[in-house]
């Protein structure tokens, strides 16, 4: 992303990223997105997409089943709240571990195949998980209604230390309730850590190995190297990211539903990653933010909101404008999303990040010309 890959540039990027995330409540204000729930979703799906990108962006293996790990993470976390404690730390740890184990199992089998065969294997596993969670596994997942907390849950650890309150207790981080802004900051810190890890992985020899798998797996095999353990490690790591994201969904809102595992949810993270830019560091995060923003803000415009917005227009014109714009917002927000996908991928093949790079390159070029220096700018990836 930076013009050169150097430790200094990476540190600058890391710092800027952390700053941007932590100041979200301020700079998202003008676009109406600075309320806790949406920012939590930004951070959580950012983690999900960044993790997904470690697999897809680096190794090129396109998984269509990552939502299963997200779902497993959520279920684990809620069970941890139900059985052990409302403290989020064990919930997050267990969720990451269980999702990791689950992704190891599925990855171990699915990675025996590559290309679209791999994609369909992961899709099949995720759909099986979803269908079973929705129906026969209801004793564990509470099916359609979703796994919820109940006042009568044992909560063994909590029961040893605290008295029972009147209602269902809320999730907490050593006493700090995990709803609202504190929930967001908790997610944000984990997002920054997740981003840092993904940066380190990308820059490490292991990351180079993964990229080598992407560019030419055959050649790797000819050199006598077994690539599968590397791919499997990447798969498990991204599965753990998904599990972390899933657990955070439960942390900020203690309910886990099967629909989190449906293929559309797996598809969503694929779309986020491609939209932002596959294989880039910032792209997936960007894609996640855009899709969640559309889902939550665009869907909320209704006729009366639009009428208010366009009230300055003359009456006849106002009606026309409102009815045209109304096609794209409110119940039509899917249409806008579909068009956005098409426009971006047609004009910016590499996703939004490529768009940014192009602008940057264009600006740099102009500047180069002006200053007439001799060396060419180097655009990384």
């Amino acid at each position: 992303m930076m013009s050169k890959i150097t430790p200094q540039n990476d540190n600058v990027m890391m710092g800027l990223f952390a700053l941007a995330i932590l100041t979200m409540p301020i700079w998202l204000m003008p676009i109406g997105a600075s309320y806790p729930d949406l920012m939590q979703k930004f951070a959580i799906f950012g983690i999900f997409a960044i993790g997904f990108n470690i697999l897809f962006g680096l190794t090129g293996y396109l998984s269509f089943g990552h939502a299963a790990f997200l779902g497993v993470g959520s279920y684990t976390a809620v069970w941890s709240f139900k059985l052990l404690s409302m403290n989020v730390v064990p919930a997050v740890i267990f969720a990451v571990l269980v999702a990791g184990a689950f992704s190891f199992l599925i990855g171990f089998i699915s990675l025996r195949r590559s290309g679209i065969y791999f994609s369909i294997l992961t899709l099949a596993f995720a759909q099986m998980s979803y269908n079973l969670a929705y129906s026969v596994l209801t004793p564990i997942t509470n099916g359609e209604t979703g796994l919820q907390l109940a006042k009568s849950d044992p909560r063994i650890v909590d029961a040893m230390f605290v008295e029972v309150g009147a209602g269902i207790p809320s999730t907490n981080f050593f006493g700090i309730a995990m709803s609202g802004y504190s929930g967001f900051y908790f997610c944000a810190v984990l997002l920054i850590i997740g981003f840092y890890l993904s940066l380190r992985i990308t820059r490490s020899p292991f990351g180079m190995m993964l990229k080598a798998i992407k560019s030419n797996q055959n050649r790797m095999s000819y050199t006598g190297l077994n690539t599968r353990p590397y791919a499997l490690t990447a798969f498990v790591i991204s599965g753990m990211y998904a599990g972390l994201a899933g657990s955070l969904l439960a942390v900020t809102d203690p309910l886990a539903g099967a629909e989190r595992m449906q293929w559309t949810a797996s598809g969503e993270v694929v779309l986020m990653t491609i939209l932002g830019g596959v294989g880039t560091l910032l792209g997936p995060m960007l894609g996640a933010v855009i899709i969640k923003y559309f889902e939550n803000i665009f869907s909320a415009f209704n006729e009366s909101t639009l009428n208010n917005i366009f009230a300055f227009l003359p009456d006849g014109l106002q009606d026309v404008v409102v009815s045209v714009v109304g096609l794209f917002v409110g119940e039509g927000w899917h249409l806008t999303l579909g068009l956005l996908f098409m426009v971006i991928v047609i004009y910016l093949p590499g996703g939004l990040v490529e768009g940014a790079q192009r602008i940057r390159a264009y600006v740099l070029k102009k500047r180069e010309k002006k200053s007439a220096t001799s060396h060419q700018p180097q655009i990384a990836e």
Binding site: L38, Y134, T138, G165, A166, I176, D253, A300, E331
Partner: protein, 447 residues
């Protein structure tokens, strides 16, 4: 499987708690009740109060959601004293004055649940955290309704259920902050019983096809209890995957099973498909055990009837309300809705409209928006003139008790909306039950 949870006696034994949270330093901006009577999204001295309407705008129930939204908009108009006043003219007792609620004009925000629990809760949280709603409402699926209702309890914002039919909503998963005007599967069963008996006799063998998730199960259980009480046998009860599309593999076994009644515990698209296909397989024309084969759809809606077309003719079911009712309340509502939008309201629209009015009225009665007081005003509230006869909001489970309609698909519709024919208005006394049979716990007033 939920038997264990039902035991109220376990309450005292099992512990839960987060009191840890209470004592420690939590920044005040997410603490509620900092100043006694202050509460989340208190409209305070502002001139307006905001309601949130959270309905499916995309996905399979988008049309139903659109109709609900129309009803909400109409309700807001009427509460604010615009239009012809609708049910404000017939509702009794009425505290509202047609000048908003407690002198504040009602404004509203909308959101898309996508008929998914996660999306619905995200949308509801947006309403609560960003738009500052004092109440939100919506429906079309029980799972989604229950998810929103538990959020309501966590957030301390009242949720008025729209269309949700599962027993769990006001049973095992009931909440202090959730209220349901719509009827439930138990009432469907209880209302259908006598009609099925008089239409089909006491010796029948029923075959259930049931959507394989919680709503389907509670309905199957309720209907089975009723029919077996009549002396019917149950030939089989088969679970079908949600959204199966083609149900042929579940319908063919019915053909030679010896059953003479098929009960479709499906809703929405599943019901449209399974009914269309069951009729295609010739079930309606069959004779089994010397009787005409019958199909029953316990929960009907107009949109489903539209989607299934000719196939619904003569098929029995229940519904919460139908626009063809002749009482003053129904007439008033159909009139203002029809004049506003050019067609009659669906039962989903009706329940959503009524819920909005009931909430607003309760605030007016309580003299405050403070949720515990509003909840107390709604609990045990008895009213009339809203289209279902004398109705009680039962305090124990926040379920409305009122007459239930048994309907059948109209053989000879006089217009494009005349799809369902009311066979019987089953009186409230016949569908009542003890609140304790489904277990569950409402939870505290103060959260």
């Amino acid at each position: 499987m939920d038997e264990i949870k039902k035991g109220v006696s376990r309450r005292g034994v099992l512990k839960g708690g987060t009191a840890l949270a209470a004592g420690l330093a939590a920044p005040t901006f997410f603490m509620r009740n900092v100043f006694g009577a202050d509460f989340r999204n208190n409209p305070g001295d502002g001139g307006t109060v905001t309601f949130g309407f959270n309905v499916p705008q995309t996905g399979a129930y988008a049309d139903e959601g659109a109709d609900e939204l129309r009803a909400y908009q109409l309700a807001v108009k009427h509460i604010n004293g615009e239009g012809d006043g609708g049910l404000l003219n017939t509702m009794q007792p009425l505290a509202l004055k047609g000048d908003g609620v407690l002198g504040k004009k009602v404004v509203y925000v909308t959101g898309d649940t996508q008929t998914k629990s996660d999306a619905a809760r995200a949308s509801a949280k947006r309403m609560i955290e960003k738009d500052g709603v004092i109440m939100y409402s919506g429906g079309s699926s029980s799972g989604v309704a229950i998810a929103q209702q538990s959020l309501a309890q966590e957030m301390g914002i009242v949720f008025m259920n729209g269309l949700t039919h599962s027993n769990d909503t006001t049973g095992k998963d009931k909440r202090r902050y959730g209220f349901r005007h719509f009827f439930n599967a138990y009432m469907s069963g209880a209302a259908l019983g006598p009609v099925l008996e008089s239409e089909m006799g006491k010796e029948r063998r029923a075959y259930h096809l049931t959507a394989d998730y919680t709503w389907g199960w509670t309905q199957e259980e309720s209907i089975k209890n009723t029919t077996e009480g009549l002396g019917w046998q149950t030939a089989n009860a088969v679970k079908t995957p949600l959204g199966a599309g083609d149900f042929s593999q579940y319908i063919t076994p019915v053909l030679n099973s010896g059953a003479d009644v098929l009960i479709l515990n499906h809703y929405g698209k599943d019901m449209i498909n399974s009914l269309t296909q069951a009729v295609q397989f010739g079930l309606r024309d069959k004779q089994v055990n010397g009787k005409d084969f019958q199909i029953v759809v316990p929960l009907y809606s107009r949109l489903m009837a539209q989607g299934a077309g000719e196939n619904i003719k003569g098929i029995f079911g229940t519904t919460n309300w139908n626009w063809s009712l002749q009482d003053a309340g129904s007439q008033a509502f159909v009139k203002s809705f029809g004049q506003e939008y050019g067609f009659p309201p669906s039962q989903a629209a009706h329940t959503c409209y009524v819920q909005t009015l009931l909430y607003a009225n309760a605030c007016q009665m309580a003299g405050t928006f403070y949720p515990p007081e509003v909840i107390k005003a709604l609990e045990g509230f008895e009213f009339d003139g809203m289209g279902n006869g004398k109705t009680l909001y039962r305090a124990e489970d926040h379920q409305c008790f009122k007459d239930v309609l048994v309907v059948k698909g109209n053989d000879n519709p006089t217009s494009q909306f005349d799809l369902l024919e009311v066979v019987q208005e089953v009186p409230r006394s016949q569908v009542e039950y003890d609140a304790s049979i489904f277990g569950g716990e409402l939870g505290p007033y103060e959260v």
